[in-house]
């Protein structure tokens, strides 16, 4: 059943979009945190891992169906995100950027190896949550799971966009990311807003984790490292600190990976992601959507 080149390309696009939507969800967390406190939270990929495990717990032990499990996992990770922020990052808010960065790496390692200790590095499998119905449109195969993944990601991203642009909290978030001190002078409780940002970012990462678990079946304590790094690249690609940028960056990265793989250079797939990082930083460090903000004296 040899498929034509066009069908092949469309199939790769479908593959790339579902992968890309996961990267986009994680990248959103990176970008929001950076936008608000200029910290690259390297522990973010591992929060995704905790989300995947919480979802697993909800599905296998608490026997919840998909949506409640997703919500359970999102709430659990939102709490974790706030906890990490209060314990590890808040005390360093006025310290040098390097100190905060190193702490982020430390939290990341803590989550990974703490997870290994608690959960043992044995792979856990998600039980099948969705019916395995396949849809075939013009020779291109979609799984039921593909569609759910895309829809869930887009709904979450739309909700985030709505929250940031049209609600009071969103306005406060934008204010704090623009100028933290001025926002404080305006009467905004910056501490709470920062914690809230972490909470949302972590919840999105948890959603990505559950989706990854459902889609790829297997979860292990080190699963957050590579997707976390790639999501970071996606956030930089779109413009770190810019929310639509993270979404676009994530989808683009997923597509590029799929296409590179499709051209037979599957071993270069991971390398390409980091090559993009290097190119973006050399050519346009502010990313696709970023503007170079000059400091006016």
């Amino acid at each position: 059943m040899g498929s034509g080149i066009v069908t092949q390309i469309f199939q790769q696009i479908v593959n790339g979009l579902s992968l890309g939507s996961i990267y986009a969800l994680i990248a959103l967390g990176y970008t929001m945190v950076y936008g608000i406190i200029k910290l690259i939270n390297f522990a973010h990929g591992d929060i995704m891992m905790v989300g995947a495990y919480s979802g697993w717990f909800a599905i296998t032990v608490l026997h919840l169906p998909f949506l409640p499990a997703l919500l359970f996992s999102m709430v659990a990770c939102a709490l974790l995100g706030v906890l990490i922020e209060r314990i590890a990052y808040k005390p360093l808010r006025n310290a040098s950027r390097i100190a905060a960065l190193i702490t982020a790496i430390g939290v990341s390692l803590f989550l990974e190896y703490g997870g290994m200790l608690l959960l043992t590095a044995q792979v856990r499998t998600y039980p099948p949550v969705f019916p395995g119905t396949m849809y075939i449109v013009g020779g291109v195969y979609f799984k039921y799971g593909d569609i759910v993944m895309l829809i869930t990601s887009f709904v979450l991203m739309a909700l985030l966009h709505f929250t940031v642009q049209y609600t009071k909290v969103g306005k406060a978030m934008r204010a704090v990311s623009f100028d933290q001190e001025a926002a404080l002078l305006m009467g905004i409780n910056t501490n709470n807003i920062i914690s809230f940002t972490f909470a949302i970012g972590s919840a999105l990462a948890a959603a990505a984790g559950v989706l990854m678990g459902v889609y790829f079946n297997t979860i292990d304590p080190l699963m957050g490292i590579i997707p976390g790094l790639k999501a970071f690249v996606a956030a930089v690609l779109g413009g770190i600190g810019i929310i639509p940028g993270a979404m676009v960056g994530g989808l683009m990265l997923g597509l590029i990976e799929s296409i590179v793989s499709g051209f037979g250079a599957s071993t270069w797939r991971d390398a390409v992601a980091f090559l993009i990082l290097i190119l973006v930083l050399i050519v346009k460090p502010s990313g696709l959507f970023g503007k170079n903000v000059r400091e006016k004296v």
Partner: protein, 395 residues
């Protein structure tokens, strides 16, 4: 203050260098000859990570073998102790794990590891320390034969067949039973086992006038999304797909392949052997897949081992456990033949081992290659269970 701190740091540097020098170059003593101290055997095993099921099964089986021997009074009137170190299915960790076993725990021999790349990483350490190592299931030729000098590695042995044989068995089955004329190959580029087995299959398949339509690669241990490479292969439309990887990725690959509408048979090697495969891929996806293995666990020759294992651990052993059991008993016999725990004597005893009857078959070590001649079985997956298809004896 300045002088004090300078002197202090110089003192620290001196202290650290002394400890460094003391740490290197210690030759471990091969255990005291006091008959009350237990004999320590090291296990450099994959107890966590992507091939954890192999190491766990082997560890349990080795412990079972040791317990059974200890109940009979041990060997040389001393009890056997297994000191297990987890190499996390990673080559880098393997080197540290075996270094710890050899220099800290002072084991007299090492059993390990289950996978070829991980075993290869441990070889320099045991060779330098002159400790014999038996790999229960490492099948790559490089384990016992150094490719640079084409000479046998004196301290390394194995309890299983090698990949050239496995590839040949698979290729013949593919050509004769599956009647495939074209095949695509998917290789785990991080695994020496996968690369070696793919080479052997391709060479034998081509000899039998088969054609390879294409080769794709993935990174074992971290890749989870294989749909792009599978889409490529689907377009090539091969009669079958050769997938010599480990069960964790194999499960995902077969599952994703079936979801893309690929119905051709998939086949692989002993890396497939684990019940986790069914959890990961789902029973339906694994229909029409096959793999080469060391033993079929429903073989009546293994019945006693299987029931002993089940009684102790409450679940059935996999083929790797059977090989671990054989490796442990092989070592016990070698210690007995050597009548000593001296590493050099054990090594010689292993090298001259003939006619050892293991549950996985008879092991006679060829002194020129340290490989035993063992037969292979072909298993097919049907409705969530492995089904024995045929046994192939070595030529």
């Amino acid at each position: 203050m300045k002088l004090f701190s300078k002197g202090f740091s110089l003192g620290m540097i001196a202290l650290l260098s002394v400890s460094l020098v003391a740490g290197c170059g210690t030759t471990p003593k091969a255990g005291s000859s006091d008959s009350s101290t237990p004999i320590k055997v090291g296990g450099n095993l994959e107890l966590s990570g992507s091939t954890a099921m192999f190491g766990q099964g082997a560890k349990n089986a080795i412990q079972l073998a040791f317990d059974q021997q200890n109940a009979k009074g041990g060997v040389l009137n001393r009890q056997l102790t297994l000191v297990a170190a987890d190499n996390k299915s990673d080559a880098g960790e393997s080197t540290s794990a075996v270094t710890k076993l050899v220099s800290q725990d002072k084991v007299i021999a090492v059993i390990g590891s289950m996978t070829s790349s991980v075993t290869l990483a441990a070889i320099p350490v045991v060779t330098d320390s002159k400790i014999p190592m038996i790999s229960p299931s490492g099948t790559n030729t490089k384990l016992t034969m150094d490719p640079a000098t084409n000479a046998v590695r004196p301290w390394i042995f194995r309890a299983c067949f090698i990949d050239p044989f496995q590839g040949q068995v698979a290729a013949n089955f593919t050509l004769t039973n599956l009647k495939a004329k074209t095949a695509a190959v998917i290789i785990d580029q991080k695994s020496d086992y996968s690369k070696g087995l793919a080479e052997s299959f391709v060479a034998n398949f081509k000899k039998g006038t088969g054609t390879i339509t294409g080769t794709e690669q993935y990174v074992g241990g971290s890749d989870k999304d294989f749909r792009s490479i599978l889409t490529n292969i689907k377009a090539q439309n091969p009669d079958m797909v050769w997938l010599p990887g480990y069960y964790q990725e194999v499960g995902l690959i077969v599952k994703q392949a079936r979801e893309l509408g690929m119905t051709m048979p998939f086949m692989g090697g002993d890396g497939w052997d684990d019940p986790q495969l069914y959890n990961i891929a789902g029973d339906a996806a694994l229909n029409n897949t096959f793999y080469v293995d060391h033993v079929a666990t429903d073989d009546p020759a293994l019945a006693t081992f299987v029931s002993d294992y089940k009684a102790k651990y409450n679940n059935a052993p996999n083929a790797m456990a059977a090989l671990g059991y054989d490796a442990a008993n092989l070592l016990i016999k070698a210690i007995d033949d050597a009548k000593s725990t001296d590493s050099e004597k054990i090594r010689t005893a292993l090298e001259n081992m003939k006619g050892f009857k293991g549950v996985g078959g008879e092991i006679t070590i060829d002194p020129k290659t340290h490989n035993p001649q063992k037969s292979a079985v072909i298993i097919s997956n049907k409705d969530g269970k492995p089904v024995f298809v045929t046994r192939v004896a070595p030529q």
